[in-house]
């Protein structure tokens, strides 16, 4: 009998095309729309339109579309943690947790319960079975590769997952969607917290955390401006600091180098080559190795410290509950709360949450 694959259909173009590829490959395909946020929150939640987009796709593909309500799970396991991290002035990545706890846990359980053999999503990544280990591989489109967001998955999750568009690039995905008549073929990509988008981020956060404005100071302690609340800023941030002219060198832009939570102060430095923006060591906790096995000491590994950062060669110095990582060259703007994700060439081997950074190994 044909394998049944239940695909998480978001209303976006990636999962839509992923579904069409599964059908072409002869699978029995069904779609599920995940509701992770209460759509009565109309200001920020686009679920009603997303559902309609998903329905149009499923109508063309002639596959069933059902809904699952994961709003409680999302709130408890993703959003609460996100808020706690924001309050601590860290830069959390809710999509990483969402994948681990919602898409590849709650949704996977639901799909298996319904009778699926595997689940699929529209992530740009691949899975390769090697010596009975399911490896997570970077998506072919280096600009879209989403393995970064999937590093917290384990074998029980990766072995039950399929990423049908892992070998495509975004342009071809959109082209295919257009050819198939999907109305979402030119829909904007989601960013940030998947359902909010970056534009609304401040207003959204304001609903949950009362912002505490405070001083922005230079590295020698002079007050050079006002911030609107530490949670709105991240390390290395250049835009939106509102530091006027007349402070320091006129031509060099200011960057966030430090958040001092106890004093509610944001430290900014001038020029992107300022040494306090660079660190060679970091500590990470909550480590996950996708294969279940940590890398060996001599293995060549590279790491990304945020989704859009380039891979940098590094060494894992100590291995226990948390790890210390040393980079071959100092890294710009390492942000606690973000994930460090390790690769062995194109294999995503795992990672952890960044706790702190430093310039010495102690």
């Amino acid at each position: 009998m044909k394998e049944t694959i239940i695909i998480g259909m978001s209303g976006g173009v990636d999962s839509a095309v992923a579904a069409s590829i599964l059908i072409e490959n002869g699978y029995n395909v069904e779609a599920v729309f995940m509701k992770n946020w209460d759509e009565e929150d109309e200001e920020f939640c686009t679920a009603t339109q997303d559902y309609k987009d998903a329905l149009q796709v499923c109508d063309i593909l002639d596959i069933p579309l059902r809904s699952i309500d994961l709003t409680n799970e999302y709130w408890d396991k993703v959003f609460k943690i996100f808020l706690e991290e924001c309050k601590k002035g860290r830069t959390p990545n809710p999509d990483v947790i969402c994948n681990k706890e919602i898409k590849f846990r709650a949704f996977l359980d639901y799909a298996l319960e319904l009778g699926a053999d595997k689940i699929a999503t529209g992530h740009y990544a691949n899975i390769n079975k090697h010596d009975n280990i399911f490896q997570l591989i970077r998506g072919k489109d280096s600009n879209k590769d989403q393995s970064y967001f999937l590093y917290r998955l384990d074998q029980s999750q990766v072995s039950k997952s399929v990423f049908p568009i892992g070998d495509l690039n975004k342009k071809n995905v959109r082209k295919k969607a257009d050819e198939l008549g999907f109305l979402n073929h030119n829909k904007k990509d989601s960013t940030g917290i998947c359902f909010i988008g970056e534009r609304n981020y401040r207003n959204f956060l304001k609903k949950f955390i009362n912002p505490q404005p405070g001083d922005i100071v230079s590295d020698n302690g002079d007050v050079i401006g006002q911030h609107e609340g530490l949670m709105y800023y991240t390390y290395g941030q250049r835009q939106g600091l509102g530091i006027g002219g007349g402070c320091g060198n006129k031509d060099a832009p200011w960057y966030v180098s430090e958040k001092i939570i106890s004093e509610n102060r944001l430290v900014a430095v001038q020029g992107n080559e300022h040494p306090s923006l660079y660190h060679s060591f970091l500590t990470a906790s909550n480590i996950n190795w996708i294969s279940g096995i940590p890398p060996t000491k001599n293995q060549n590994i590279t790491a990304k410290i945020r989704y859009r950062s380039k891979d940098t060669a590094c060494k894992i110095i100590t291995q226990s509950d948390s790890i210390i990582v040393e980079f071959n060259a100092p890294k710009f703007a390492i942000a606690p709360g973000q994930s460090i994700v390790f690769y062995n060439n194109d294999i995503c081997i795992g990672g952890g949450i960044i706790e702190s950074r430093s310039n010495s190994n102690n």
Binding site: E30, F33, K35, D38, E39, A47, T48, Y51, P64, R66, S67, I68, D69, T71, Y110, E113, L114, G115
Partner: protein, 367 residues
């Protein structure tokens, strides 16, 4: 697909469908026009008005057509803004077309009280009487509930409130064709109907008004429907509703006993297969039952049945799938976990015992 969701909507009766098609093709003239085709269209509407009136024991002058039950309910409630007495009493298990409207009109000075129901979903007369105030201008209680099917003792309630001269509205959308309705013996002042719940077309409904002077237009425009509902008439819908009402009344007794038989057969067998289930429907409309499956989530049960091409509902899910506990079951005192383990089965005249067997077998596999 095997369809057990007739409380959501019914398939259109073939004769009604044929009629609707014919009207759309042939009688396209505007009923307000004075030439012969316009007059013909007008007379078709008047015939349908009589058919609907006859179905509920009303005079044809007491019926006007709306876009559906929701609009009919809205018109009754919004009308209270024009009147002096601005307190409205409704049952706590009304359809959103009552409850949500009240929330909306509160800002214009309307106040609302909600009548609790007992654990069987029944409105008790004393509970109504307790809520009546000097400025109570309307009582609205549904004739039968859409989620659990409870038939409310409208006649008895009105006998008790009659001397107070408080206008009484009933949402009878679920009831027509399943139980006899007579507006005079009920004693109501307003009654809402919707055609697609009794094998008629969608997008058409009617409001019975005992005294047309006691209501104003909600959709304002032309003088159609005696000035009570502006907008060019939905002729095919109206004619379809008329015919559907006539057929529903003719077949009401046979249909109801068929539905009762199916319901009993289903319930008896289900209970012997799964003794744990709880039936939430007592004194209910024929063929509409709410059943709780302790330990099972209703959304997963629905999805599993859907995979077997069987359509049922949990009565209260919105279209993007946010599953919220049903307010009706909540009002009946059913706790959240059981609330979210509840399905609604609503049988229809075309359902067969064979189909119910398939449902029983499917549930046996799932549970």
């Amino acid at each position: 697909m095997i369809y057990f969701d007739h409380s959501a909507t019914t398939p259109i009766h073939p004769l009604v469908a044929k009629k609707v098609n014919n009207i759309n093709r042939i009688h396209y003239a505007n009923p307000s026009s004075i030439y012969s085709e316009g007059r013909k269209a007008k007379s078709l509407i008047e015939k349908a008005r009589t058919q609907v009136a006859n179905a509920i024991g009303a005079k044809n002058t007491q019926i006007f057509f709306t876009s559906g039950g929701t609009e009919a309910n809205n018109q009754v409630l919004w009308n209270k803004l024009n009147e002096e007495k601005k307190h409205i009493i409704v049952s706590s298990i009304e359809h959103p077309a009552i409850i949500k409207v009240l929330k909306n009109i509160e800002r214009y000075g309307i106040t609302a009280s909600f009548i609790p129901v007992n654990k069987n979903g029944l409105v008790e007369i004393e509970s109504v009487m307790k809520l009546i105030k000097k400025d109570t201008g309307l009582i609205s209680i549904m004739l039968a509930n859409n989620e659990v099917g409870t038939i409310q003792p409208i006649q008895e309630i009105i006998e008790n409130t009659k001397s107070l001269n408080i206008p009484f509205h009933t949402d009878a959308v679920q009831a027509l064709g399943k139980i006899p309705i007579d507006v005079n013996s009920l004693g109501v002042d307003y009654l809402s109907l919707s055609a697609h719940k009794f094998y008629g077309p969608k997008g058409i409904g009617a409001l019975f008004v005992k005294n047309k002077k006691k209501i104003q237009s909600l959709i304002i425009g032309g003088d159609q429907e005696d000035g009570l509902r502006g907008g060019t008439e939905n002729i095919s819908g109206i004619v379809g509703m008329g015919l559907a009402a006539e057929i529903a009344i003719q077949n009401q007794q046979t249909c109801s006993s068929h539905l009762k038989n199916l319901e009993k057969y289903f319930l008896d067998n289900l209970k012997s297969n799964s003794p744990n289930i709880i039936c939430n429907s007592i004194n209910n409309l024929p063929g509409l039952i709410s059943i709780t499956f302790p330990g099972f989530q209703s959304d997963i049960l629905m999805a599993k049945l859907d995979r077997k091409k069987i359509a049922v509902s949990n009565g209260s899910a919105c279209n993007t799938g946010n599953i919220k506990p049903s307010n009706v079951l909540k009002a009946m005192g059913i706790k959240n976990d059981l609330n979210l383990s509840t399905l609604r089965f609503s049988f229809g005249k075309n359902n067969t015992k064979d189909e119910v067997d398939k449902l029983l077998n499917a549930l046996k596999e799932i549970i």
